[in-house]
Amino acid sequence: MKQYALYPGCSLEKIAQSYRVSAIETSRAMGVELKEIDDWNCCGATAYFHVDELLSYTLVARNLAIAEKENLDFVAPCSACYKNAYFTKKYLNQDPELAEHINYALEEDNLHFTGNIAVKHLIEVFVQDLGVEQIRDKVSNPLEGLRVAPYYGCQIVRPRKDHEDVEEPQFFEDLISAMGAEPVDYPNKVRCCGGSLIITSRVAALSLVRVLLQSAVDSNAMVIATACPLCQVNLECYQEQVNQEFGTEYSIPILYFTQILGLSLGIPAKRLGIGTELVSTKEVLTYAQKKENDL
């Protein structure tokens, strides 16, 4: 049973409970154990890096150091946590003085950062480590006919990591087809969802959300799959405000990729945290209905 050091991050504690639950369910079903890091701290999200870079590196380095203690690869389901962890490890490896400076601080907790563990986003665990073939074999309840729009969000691919093409990534589409569903050609799949702008300048963020929703409708997708709690919130919870602001009637369900994957693996919706959404996901469930009850 391959183990990973799970760094849930603050979203998975509160608003993204369903992401957390579905992540653990699906990974267990795929033979992978997400072992939560004990005594982890906030990762600084997107804002803190611009306030005080040194302290934000220290915050993230502490989490990495804890994971290193158990010598497990560091997995972050949330894109912002993943980006911070990825670049902290990169810059500390490149700048020995910075690392030494931060390690001096970590000694308080008798922790030490060396940077010898891999940093992965949850979706990478499924797509790269497990691989699409292995997932397709495990899918017991293929979601034929369900058209899913793969929404990468921005921080998974940018700033440029060692992913494939930043403009035209394909790994999310492969995952969806492995679930038996039909990935939709979604042109705005790497466009920004507004992120924390939703609070600071609401209308600008809402117009970005609107573009994403409209594009999903144009590509006649039935559901948008995301891999980041903030994107999920912006896309789902603010559909109402987008409709008010722009006079549109969007009603598109937004689910985490782990939830849809869970359905295809035959895991009942309740155990995937499905049912608490603001936008009804009943239609999506009809595609998963057939096999559910004989589990």
């Binding site: 093409d165 403009e167 035209e168 042109p187 705005n188 609107r210 573009v211 409209q214 594009s215 144009d218």
Partner: protein, 677 residues
């Protein structure tokens, strides 16, 4: 060995004198052994400076001359001629580089002067061992090979042929014409490309002095300036060129069609037996064996059945022919490839139907093209209302090509004009970084476009998407660009986008450089002998380059380079014999033991083994003088003219004269008995 050496130290104005104490070096040189006279002079390369040498040789009976000045690549020839005028063999001369290698590289006057003395002393010791050499005459075969039948190759061939010299023109495609044959209009005069090109093509086709070898490729090149032997593979056309009248019935009757990716850039089809375009020269069609049913499954033969000629011109048994042609010079005019725009995914080429490349648009707008000149979308029917033209696709880009491809701005303007002309009420948006209109009449053409109401947006296009945000964008291609002049992000909905890709070196340019033994730069363009003063010659004698293969350029430059290369070749042919540096290796037969160590060292196969004498011999004509065999010969039986072991050994001793043994120079220790140390 006592000689009378004249040493001349040049001030080069202040270039040398500023850092090297030239007077001191001259005085010091004066009292070195074997030095008859040592002078320093302001400008040795001036005629007065050269006269100094001439007079000293005559009056002082100098037997050797050393000049310490700039790099030999600059003025070695000048001073050799000066020696010759003075009656001294030009090879009894050695040049010392005290400018580029010394005065320009340091401010330390003392070190520079010390270094200058050492280099001069090395040259003096070396020049004593110089032997008289004569430049080697080389007969120039008057035939010339031109590789590539584009406009550059055509103009080179015509210039030479008109001058009365025979030319072999080898072209890889079935017809000459190159990229220019695919274009509709040419900037800035808007001449129809075919109208100005086809007369030249016909001229080539009919010229008695030009042997046209199309559908052929160069397989191998041997030899050197004046005597190249080139093996050309003439691929089988399966058409007998003597009998075929070019009537085209076979093309008509051929029942099979395939998309024409080469000439029509994939926009329309051609028959399996085809001519690339009506005005093709030569007129003979070619059978595309990959798609011809006869070659695939052995049936059809419609073309043969309907061929009216007697005997029948279609010959399915035809084989590739290998021709060995002897030429004196070779002109490479192999042209360019276009950058593959699908390498920039965010521009959507291949994903979004109405994103076209410039070549595709050239075919669209061409009267002989698939739509007979009507500008329409990919559905081949609806004309666009709004057209966006994107400059610098893959050019001036850190991730792709850093260089500017020179012509895309101009032909993008041409496209804008053609759209205005054919679709008067269409809107045209040109997205550019900097509008580059350097040629004659180019800027005026740009102003003309401004007057025609083209929208010019100064910004690099971020991406092209079909995901509309407003009704106005519905069903359109949205060009997202940051308009830097009004500092706003703009989303321009258009119906058609034309991408102007970078001009790239041919995909196989590296293979060509190895075939012809010359160089190409990092981007794959051929390297000229001197970027400013000698752009059509290469480092290899007898190989010339012209047109886009040397770097992105427009038609006027390609034509003038073609003519320039032809002029260089004509100059050589006119002279008939050319005198080349006698820097060659030769084997002293008595000392050769026949060990054959040298036999496979020569890249020019100039070393052969004489079986009966059991010694190796060097074919002087083939030898290029690199000296690799001289350094390898274990019994020192091979000597390299002008770079002999004695010369180099004494130069080493000379430049280290001031080391260890205090300042007095090491007396030459006689070779045999070295008395105690």
């Amino acid at each position: 060995m006592s000689e009378k050496v004249g040493v001349y130290i040049c001030h080069c104005g202040t270039n040398i004198a500023k850092t090297v104490d030239v007077e001191d070096v001259a005085v010091w040189a004066g009292d070195q052994p074997d030095v008859e006279i040592a002078r320093d002079y302001k400008f040795m390369c001036s005629s007065l400076g050269q006269d100094l040498i001439e007079e000293d040789i005559k009056e002082k009976g100098l037997t050797r001359v050393v000049v310490a000045a700039c790099s030999p690549h600059m003025h070695e020839k000048t001073f050799r001629t000066a020696c010759e005028r003075g009656g001294l063999n030009p090879f009894l001369f050695e040049m010392v580089n005290v400018r580029e290698h010394n005065s320009w590289t340091t401010d330390d006057r003392e070190a520079a002067t010390k270094k200058a003395k050492a280099l001069v002393n090395g040259a003096v010791e070396r020049v004593i061992y110089h032997q008289e050499l004569e430049m080697m005459p080389l007969e120039i075969n008057p035939n010339t090979l031109v590789v590539g039948g584009g406009i550059a190759g055509i103009s080179a061939s015509l210039e030479l042929a008109d001058a009365g010299y025979h030319v072999y023109l080898v072209e890889r495609e079935p017809s000459i014409g190159g990229h220019m044959a695919q274009l509709d209009k040419t900037f800035p005069t808007l001449d129809c490309s075919a109208c100005i090109l086809t007369p030249r093509m016909v001229e080539v086709g009919q010229h008695p002095n030009i042997t046209l070898l199309t559908w052929s490729e160069v397989e191998n090149v041997e030899g050197y300036l004046g005597n190249f032997t080139v093996t050309v593979r003439k691929k089988a056309r399966y058409i007998n060129e003597e009998h075929c009248t070019g009537c085209g019935i076979c093309i008509e009757k051929c029942p099979f069609k395939v998309t024409d990716d080469v000439f029509e850039a994939g926009l329309s089809t051609r028959k399996v037996i085809y001519r690339p375009f009506p005005q093709a020269v030569p007129k003979y069609p070619v059978i595309d064996t990959e798609n011809c049913v006869y070659f695939l499954r052995g049936k059809c033969k419609a073309c043969q059945i309907f061929c009216p000629t007697e005997p029948n011109s279609i010959d399915f048994e035809q084989q590739d022919e290998f021709l060995n042609i002897d030429v004196g010079n070779i002109i490479l005019a192999t042209g360019y490839d276009l950058f593959d725009v699908s390498k920039i995914p965010q521009y959507g080429y291949g994903r979004l139907a109405n994103v076209f490349t410039s070549l595709e648009f050239e075919r669209l707008v061409n009267a002989a093209g698939p739509t007979s000149g009507n500008i329409v979308l990919r559905d081949m029917e609806t004309p666009p209302d709004k057209v966006a033209i994107v400059h610098c696709v893959g050019s001036r880009d850190e991730n792709y090509h850093k260089y500017c491809s020179k012509v895309c701005c101009m032909y993008s303007l041409k496209f804008a004009h053609l759209v205005h002309e054919r679709l008067p009420d269409a809107e045209v948006y040109n997205c550019y970084i900097d509008m580059r209109t350097p040629g004659k009449g180019y800027e005026e053409f740009y102003n003309r476009l401004l007057e025609e109401g083209t929208h010019f947006i100064r910004g690099k296009v971020a991406d092209i998407t079909d995901s509309a945000r407003t009704d106005e964008e519905e069903g359109k291609l949205i060009v997202q660009v940051n308009d830097t002049l009004i500092d706003k992000q703009r989303r321009i909905p258009v119906d058609m986008v034309i991408l102007s890709p970078a001009m790239e070196a041919r995909y196989d340019s590296r293979k060509i450089t190895q075939l012809f033994r010359m160089g190409c730069d990092f981007d794959g363009f051929f390297v000229e002998r001197h970027p400013k003063l000698d752009p059509v010659a290469t480092m290899t004698e007898g190989i010339y380059i012209a047109g886009a293969c040397q770097g992105p350029k427009d038609i006027p430059d390609s034509v003038s380079q073609g003519a320039a290369a032809a002029a260089r070749v004509a100059g050589l042919i006119a002279r008939g014999t050319v005198y080349i540096e006698p820097v060659r290796a030769s084997i002293i037969e008595e000392q050769c033991s026949g060990c054959r160590i040298c036999n496979n060292l020569c890249p020019y196969n100039a070393i052969i083994f004489n079986e009966d004498k059991e010694v190796s011999e060097i074919i002087t004509a083939l030898c290029q003088g690199c000296g690799t065999c001289v350094a390898a010969c274990p019994s020192a039986a091979i000597t390299g003219a002008h770079f002999t072991n004695d010369q180099l050994m004494s130069q080493i001793e000379g430049i280290l004269w001031d080391v260890g043994k205090g300042l007095e120079s090491i007396k030459k220790v006689e070779s045999v008995a070295e008395i105690g140390d």
